[in-house]
């Protein structure tokens, strides 16, 4: 029983001008950043105006695009070729969106930016509070730890930045590389978690129980919150609690806004102009995470475009099976000394190893497809070396057709 997946044509997705946002998600170490950059470059060279948003502190995108630094603003990527030059753009049937054939639309462009989560957070504060109050918030120790090391802040700010880029409307395609969280699901959950937290009743009650103390019926509640405050103080210390209290009273007017902003972006992600790509390596753990993510996207009604299997091992000599290859090794080894070919033995052993690896990867991919038969799959062959320039990214992009 072998399940055959529908091929996912990434080219078709990026050529469709209705696609406005592509979110690349998946567990860490599967090559998300590289795939996102390759998609951005491919789309730009096929005529889209692209911005790639990466959130990875390792500055990988910068490296893979030959840029020495990325800051919180989109920077043009040099060396992107014009559409004609890169690809003799054949119109695919069924793609008759308005604007595709207009002059001036054929030459694409590419920008890239790296998320600076603290800067992004600061900007929200500066935009929503008067200068005095903003300065007070920015100097608060709790704010400083919240904006630089809080679990979920990175995801929240990635979402926030995505919303900003979309509203700016300067690009017709935004490619997002999601933060390297331990689980791919964090990207969807963390912003709401942070939004809920900042907006939360508990936070407000905890820092300002006196407000509610006067009302009858709330007296009991107030008493138990007194106990809660006591325990929290024991655990986290009174200094931190005081910082939190100052922070909360300074931020008071902004709180409702946080949840709203998170929800705006969450809704944006559910519109048809968004396409989620789940990136995975053909390995057990990565595919398990991919499965969770696919199920979650389906449950939430998020527009899932498909699975991208990155670093798939293939052999140009796949017609020679591992078994026949090893039999040939035995035949060569049986030859008298001097007549055998060390080179051929090495080549055949290595070929058998590659065939076995490729078969194992295929089994894993089939298992995924058996569980998710409707999810289209694209495969990107493993590259012999790490990718760190546009040519390398272009090479990856050649796998985006359906062939």
């Amino acid at each position: 029983m072998s399940a055959k997946a529908t091929p996912l044509a990434i080219d078709q997705l990026i050529d469709d001008r209705r696609t406005r946002i592509i979110v690349c998600c998946g567990s860490g170490g599967v090559g998300k950043t590289t795939v996102a950059a390759a998609i951005g470059l491919r789309a730009a060279e096929r005529g889209r105006h692209v911005v790639v948003l990466t959130v990875d502190p390792a500055r990988r995108l910068a490296q893979s695009m030959g840029l020495s630094m990325l800051d919180n603003t989109p920077r043009p990527v040099p060396g992107v070729r014009g559409a004609q030059q890169a690809d003799p753009d054949q119109d695919e049937p069924g793609h008759d969106q308005p604007g595709q054939d207009e002059p001036g639309q054929t030459d694409g462009s590419m920008h890239a930016m790296m998320l600076d989560m603290k800067r992004t957070f600061d900007e929200i504060v500066e935009a929503h509070a008067d200068p005095d109050r903003a300065a007070q918030i920015l100097a608060n120790p709790f704010y400083q730890s919240l904006s630089s090391s809080f679990a979920g802040t990175q995801e929240y700010m990635a979402m926030e930045k995505l919303g900003q880029l979309r509203r700016a409307d300067e690009w017709d395609l935004i490619v997002v590389d999601t933060p390297p969280s331990r689980s791919a699901l964090d990207f969807l959950d963390a912003p709401q978690r942070l939004g809920r937290f900042l907006d939360g009743r508990l936070l407000r009650l905890l820092v300002a129980p006196a407000k509610f103390g006067g009302k009858t019926g709330l007296r009991m509640l107030n008493a138990s919150f007194g106990m809660v405050t006591g325990v929290v103080t024991k655990i986290i210390g009174s200094q931190l609690l005081r910082d939190v209290q100052t922070f909360v009273s300074a931020m008071d007017t902004m709180f409702g806004g946080f949840r709203e902003r998170a929800e705006y972006t969450y809704r944006l992600l559910r519109t048809p102009g968004t396409a989620f790509l789940v990136i995975a390596a053909p390995e057990h753990d990565a595919l398990r995470e991919a499965s969770y993510f696919v199920e979650r996207l389906e449950r939430d009604g998020m527009p899932l475009a498909g699975l991208v299997l990155n670093r798939v091992h293939r052999s140009p000599a796949a017609r020679l099976s591992a078994a026949r290859s090893l039999a040939a090794v035995e035949a060569l080894q049986a030859l008298p000394e001097g007549e055998s070919s060390g080179l051929a033995i090495t080549a055949l052993q290595r070929h058998a190893e590659r065939m076995r690896q490729s078969a194992a990867e295929r089994r894993l991919a089939e298992r995924f497809t058996a569980a998710h038969p409707l999810v289209p799959v694209a495969q990107i062959p493993a590259q012999p070396e790490d990718v760190h320039d546009l040519d390398g990214l272009r090479m990856i992009g050649t796998a985006f057709g359906t062939d």
Partner: protein, 353 residues
């Protein structure tokens, strides 16, 4: 792999059999923190290391802290509760029975409730607070608190004694990834902004003593690829800087190595000559006259050669870090218990355990 010179006036090292049974690169270490970039197989390596350590005969505790139940999946057991469970037994070693491997999945919430109970006898209150979301709240506004509790649990297991001797021969911590490890382990600075006095502070100090002792090392799992190697080197440098010499980097475990990475590097440019030689050999081997096949196999060899060259460059970078390096083979058929035993044996052979 590397053996420290030892004081050996009587030339006793000649009786190598005796020495090699006990002597490893990390004698005296009882807390092995295993970190690595995502996708490098950190959990698998931690599990293999736990098995390898348990083969000395004493029980070993394998802990995970990120709530992904990776250990349960590896050992093919139901999801682990907040409780130490026996998941495997190490193979017998030179006639000595192997020790048991216990596993524990620590989550912040349970650790905090346990902590409240231990110090305040507040278990019931802890449950009520959980319902109110207070536990979530406290660990959310103070991220360092979670780290103190998680590493605190590891330190407690290291120190735990029964009848005067340690309960566990060693504790292996499947730790957060390389990018976060320094912050997680550098507890005292984390809590300084959190609690200057009080029970959390003294708890953190106790934990810190264990982590900064000769009993603890931090191993890095990597692949021979640019990004994981870079993160490993950055991680080691950061650990040295943040730890101010107090936190010891351990070994570098190069995971998922192909056989080809041990073969002599071929010149990728020799593809044309290789094709000719292969064509003749294939015919001899009974595969017929097949120029295309020879060319394709030569292309595979050239690919391998390029990979091997790139890997050799990464290997040189790792060697320069000055930490012992160990290699684990790529296992293509999926990781099961048998594969873990294989990896554990490889770690032992190389002196990692």
């Amino acid at each position: 792999m590397t053996h420290r010179p030892q004081y050996d006036p009587a030339g006793l090292a000649d009786s190598l059999v005796l020495v090699s049974v006990r002597d490893t690169d990390w004698d005296g270490v009882r807390l092995h923190v295993v970190t690595g970039k995502g996708g490098t197989g950190k959990t698998t390596v931690a599990a293999a290391l736990a098995l390898a350590l348990a083969s000395h005969g004493k029980p070993v505790l394998l802990m995970e802290v990120e709530g992904r139940q990776g250990i349960a999946q590896l050992f093919d057991v139901p999801p682990l509760p907040y409780e130490e469970r026996r998941v495997a037994v190490a193979p017998a070693d030179h006639g000595h029975p192997g020790g048991d491997v216990y596993a524990l999945a620590v989550d912040t919430q349970s650790a905090l409730i346990e902590y409240l109970e231990m110090f305040y006898n507040l278990r019931q209150a802890g449950r009520a607070l959980t319902k109110l979301g207070v536990v979530d709240f406290a660990t959310t506004i103070a991220p360092g608190l979670g780290d103190v509790l998680l590493t605190g649990k590891a330190a407690e297991a290291v120190r735990r004694k029964a009848g005067g001797s340690p309960v566990y021969g060693a504790v292996v911590l499947d730790a957060p990834p390389t990018g976060r490890i320094s912050r997680v382990l550098n507890i005292s600075s984390e809590v300084s902004g959190l609690a200057k006095v009080g029970p959390i502070r003294s708890h953190a100090d106790t934990v810190q003593k264990v982590i900064r002792s000769a009993q603890t090392v931090v191993h890095f799992v990597t692949l021979l690829e640019e990004m994981p190697v870079q993160e490993t080197l950055d991680g080691i440098a950061e650990l040295k800087e943040v730890g101010k010499g107090g936190i010891q980097p351990g070994g570098i475990i190069v995971n998922m190595t192909h056989q080809c990475s041990n073969r002599p590097v071929r010149d990728p440019a020799s593809q044309g000559r290789d094709t000719q030689a292969l064509e003749i050999a294939l015919k001899t081997a009974g595969l017929g006259e097949d120029h295309k096949l020879a060319a394709d196999l030569a292309a595979e060899l050239a690919d391998d050669a390029r990979t091997a060259q790139a890997q050799a460059a990464q290997r040189t970078l790792l060697d320069a870090a000055g930490q012992p390096c160990y290699e684990l083979p790529l296992i293509t058929d999926g990781i099961d218990l048998a594969a873990l035993y294989r990896l554990a044996a490889a770690l032992r052979e190389q002196g990692a355990a």
